[in-house]
């Protein structure tokens, strides 16, 4: 069973004081850095391109191709920015990674910055996770002392300053251009594109923005080679990734496996559904990805297959809900999150989420008619693809998908005059065997 796991990023998480540079180096850390510095910068980019690594932040854009977009003839400095603003409901992979093994990320940053010829890199960390920020800051200090950062790294002639920057608690700052505005000290709201960050990003200079897990995967690709990486995964979704299982499974947690693993396999790895219950619905990659049901247990979790199933692989944050859970209630909670986090820049997101929350709240209370359900779907139709950035697309994903799969349950609320579920039954402290 556990032979399905491919622990690379998570391999050292169980080590004694795994976050220290000594522990990291003891298990081979920073070897990839030496190897990369001996390579030409274009060869590093080529290796990442050849590996087939796709962005682990959700969108799945090929990382090497992104690096290749940086115009090297641009006279401005180049910047590398790591998006560590992990705030999506359900998503919980980057924060444990930075907590358990910050040096994996830092080594990736150094190699990546070397490849794109950036002398300044930033890790933009979600502001609420102060413990992670402190751990990262300490690790960066260790890396400077070890000579991995600073001027003329290990005699390579390459300089790199790395800044750990704390966000101020806004989900929108995970959107890459809003992140850049926030990093520049402005109000974090998405920017108009074009120009794209690769051309005019941070301080109007060429900028690469990558997710923590993407950058953290770089050292292993350099160390073991792109073929090793691409031997894992599926045809167009190469490599391994961290799958975060949460919710109604026996042993929730992080499972690092090749892309293409199925939920059925992952639930088995997590010890099955919690005792006596069965799967009702789940998110493949955080709350922004439309929900799936038990009919999708065997969908390979890679970018293509999940898209084909009508959702998105996203951040592989698998929130598992069993039959005790009211889907209307869950959807309302998610929608409340998006209403709270909508930055307010564009109309459909700002106003649409305000209305949707009220609509769903009424439906949950069993008020209204089935026609209101169609109004909700029409609101979603007027939001999806009409907003400035993808935040609002994420907001309507759970709503439309939950109505698609559980329309009867919505109607049951209306006929029942309220929620037919016992909310306590879905809690993790509910007595075994409790049911709706």
């Amino acid at each position: 069973m556990s032979d399905m796991l491919t622990p690379v990023l998570t391999d050292n998480w169980g080590d004694e004081r795994s976050w220290t540079i000594e522990a990291y180096e003891a298990q081979g850390g920073y070897r990839a850095l030496s190897k990369a510095l001996a390579m030409s910068q274009d060869d590093v980019i080529a290796a990442v391109k050849d590996s087939g690594l796709r962005g682990r932040g959700g969108a799945g854009f090929p990382t090497g191709m992104k690096w290749g977009f940086i115009p090297q003839d641009n006279p401005n400095p180049k910047y590398l920015v790591v998006n560590a603003d992990e705030s999506e409901p359900g998503t919980c992979k980057d924060i444990p990674l930075m907590m358990a093994s910050p040096h994996t990320l830092i080594e990736g940053v150094i190699i990546s910055a070397y490849a794109i010829r950036a002398n300044h890199a930033f890790i933009y960390v979600r502001g609420e996770v102060l413990h992670v920020i402190r751990r990262l800051q300490h690790a960066v200090k260790e890396a400077y002392l070890a000579g991995h950062l600073g001027k003329n790294i290990h005699g390579s002639g390459h300089d790199l300053e790395l800044v750990v920057h704390a966000g101020a608690g806004a989900y929108i700052c995970g959107e890459e251009t809003a992140l850049l505005d926030s990093l520049e000290g402005r109000r974090g709201q998405p920017r108009l594109r074009p120009p794209f960050p690769a051309v005019a990003g941070l301080y109007a200079s060429p900028t690469v923005i990558n997710n923590v897990e993407s950058i953290a995967s770089v050292p292993s690709i350099i160390e073991h080679g792109p073929d090793w990486f691409s031997s894992m995964g599926t045809e167009r979704s190469k490599g391994y990734g961290i799958f975060s299982l949460s919710g109604h499974v026996t042993n929730p947690g992080q499972f690092e496996a090749p892309l293409g693993i199925t939920l059925r396999e992952l639930i088995d790895l997590a010890g099955g559904m919690r005792n006596g219950h069965k799967l009702k619905f789940w998110t493949p990659g955080g709350s922004s990805t439309g929900i799936l049901t038990d009919e999708h247990l065997d969908v390979p979790l890679d970018f293509e297959a999940v898209a084909e199933a009508g959702s998105m692989l996203g951040t592989r944050a698998l929130q598992i809900f069993d039959e005790t859970t009211c889907v209307v209630r869950a959807t309302l909670r998610w929608t409340e999150f998006y209403k709270h986090e909508s930055c307010g820049k564009c109309t459909p997101c700002r106003e649409g989420t305000w209305w949707l929350v009220q609509s769903l709240a009424k439906l949950e209370k069993g008020e209204g008619t089935e026609a209101d359900l169609d109004v909700v779907l029409d609101q979603c139709d007027n939001i999806l693809g009409r907003s400035f950035c993808a935040l609002a697309d994420g907001a309507v994903g759970p709503i439309t998908s939950s109505i698609q799969y559980f329309r009867d349950e919505y109607i049951a609320h209306l006929t029942h005059g309220g929620c037919p579920h016992d909310p306590a039954a879905s809690t993790l402290f509910a007595p075994a065997g409790a049911s709706a």
Partner: protein, 829 residues
Amino acid sequence: MSTPGSTPRTGEVVATDQVTLTIDGITTSAPKGTLVIRAAEEIGIQIPRFCDHPLLKPVGACRQCLVEVAMPGPNGELRTMQGPPGRMKPQPSCTLVATEGMEVKTQLTSEGADKAQQGQMEFLLINHPLDCPVCDKGGECPLQNQAMSNGRGESRFSAQGMVKRTFPKPINISPQILLDRERCIVCQRCTRFADEIAGDSFIALVERGARQQIGIGPDAPFLSYFAGNTIQICPVGALTSEDYRFRSRPFDLVSTPSIAEHDACGAAIRVDHRRGKVMRRLAGDDPEVNEEWITDKDRFGFSYTRSDERLTYPQVRDEETGELRPASWPEAFVVAARGLAAAGASGVLTGGRVTAEDAYAYSKFARVALGTNDIDFRARQHTGEEASFLAAHVAMTAPYTGGVTYSDLEQAGVVVLAGFEPEDEAGTIFLRLRKAVMQHGTRVVAVAPYTTRGLRKLNGRLVATAPGEEGDALSALAGDSEAGLDASSVIMVGERLATTPGALAAVIDLAATTGARLAWVPRRAGDRGALDAGCLPNLLPGGRPVADAGARVDVAAAWGVAQLPETPGRDGNAIVAALMSGKLGGVVVGGVDPDDTPDPAAFRAALAAASFVVALEQRETDVTRAADVVFPVAPVTDKPGTFVTWDGRARQFEAVMTNPASLPDLRTLSGIAQEMGRPLGWRTTDEVRAELLQLGAWDGARAPFDAGKAPKVAKAPKRGALRLVTWKQLVDDGTLQSGDVHYRATARPAVVRLSQTDFDALGSFTTEAADGRPVAMVTVTGDRGSVTLPAEVADLPVGTVWVPARSFGRGVLADLASPGSSVVVKGEK
């Protein structure tokens, strides 16, 4: 764009690449870079929008202008833009650049685009209050109008019993501007205007989601000279002015286009009035002049015409009581005519506020009725050097004679400001200069005492000068490679430069050696018109030199008089001196505030000494109180007229209202001249305009520039004394701003500015203001009085002190000292 020499001049045809696209089945072409929403406008297709504004950068926030777009794919076939795949993804036409072969379907031909637009409109309205019946914007509201044209009649949100977001109403974001947050659709037009156009980033978005709103800093209200523009461009009724809020409905107003009377910029305005009362003024749209922006002074400064002190009937001095008493117009004409005849030699002083037609009337009145060249429009510090400069280099220059224009500023590589602070003295020029700097890379160099807020917003370079040093500083610019003046450069000379002897001569030399072009910018709306009308001792109308016999014959023939006085007359200073010495007996004063004159006390004394004073005024002043005959003349709202801008454009306007109780100056002067037996030949503005047209400009040689006597070497200030430098801030105590309480409250506080060295020399004296902040009060004492104001340190040259000219008491000239003279500054414990 800013490469000197390579920039295209106005009027030059520049080949642009065009792209061809289809909008709603209509094939059209547009220059590369055109936004789809603009290309659609060009062919008469209106796409609804809120955040879009043609003079602001695209933002794509409101999502109202969504349209269906197809682009040619690699195989040339059109592919509709989709997202997620299989679903048409409408694009915001306000951010989308038109490209070759693009096919756009607006709400007119695409169901999807129409549905998307209706959807956005519905969202915009869910949190918008339905208070249109009491909202100032109701009736002229883009949201109201477009909700009717592109929205649904019934609200599903309300029908479902949903709850709108509310905010306490309203909040002040400045003393003048109010914000009703629940009406705001956060299109960011106001914040973008403040950032991009005015450069006053005092408003910004705060909070997020549906609670996102426009906010100000805790101690930083939206104090901007241009703040009122945000009210006008607000597409809903979220921004209102204290001045106009709840005063009237747009459909009750009559709108008359006009020209702003507060500076020499000639900004187009729209005057909205109701039942004989001006309710508000808005910016007009004139791309060549003010684009769509005006200063707050032009917008809010109009209630002076309703002042209680407004004169409504003529008055004559009663021979028995010696008091002024009401008189009929005919009686007043007769008394004025007799009095002037009896007074012997008389002069004419006009302020810079009269229209070009009225200025012409004064000019002709002086020559024909009084037989004198003793006339001067410069109710401020002035010199003979300046009069010569104006005659030789400024009179009758205009865009069609090759004069510098607003758009030339955008093309200029470098603009030198000399004796000129555009933000305070000519706000419309300031905005155009800022556009030049921000969009076209123009560099600004200011020969000025310190880096003003305006200069900072222009990213300008300061050539710090003490009063008296401007000439040398300007001469040095010729060889200054950092400034890099060349033929694409413009030197803007303010009227204040005249106070430094030799500075105008230096400007002329600088222009000649570098090839840079010259522009003179007076402060008042009527100054340029008065110059062209010959309200100067050395000039006849149309730029004709008095000293030129041919020019005199030209004018005499046109006027049908035998001859005109031959010798150049007295200027303002000399007229005052001559009245004191008795060489002049009478004086006609039109629109002069004694406190604007170089020596207010001397001016008042001259009025007292004059044997006969005729005053033409709108309201009671020290001049009317000293006059023997007082005529209530019409303000700009009550008469047609023309203001000639700094760049020589004749900006005609018509009367906004008819008010039989106030006649234009020209009608009054015509009446007096008639009674004197020397008729001027016209009685109406139209007749004057016809005569001006017929007279035309002088086609002979300009008077040569004569710098006059070699400039005196300025006396070094006495030990411990500082040299005074001053100008008027945009919002100050000027008479045309009286009565506008909320507007006046937006004035920058009156402070004394001095160098760090001079400040430190005052010793320790900082005290606490009422709000607990430290404030340093200083007393400045000159030969005419003293003033105590807070002090601020600025990058002034050591030995120099700046004080605002008209922001306390009766102003610097009356209550402190003459600019350039020595004053003593002391710290107040």
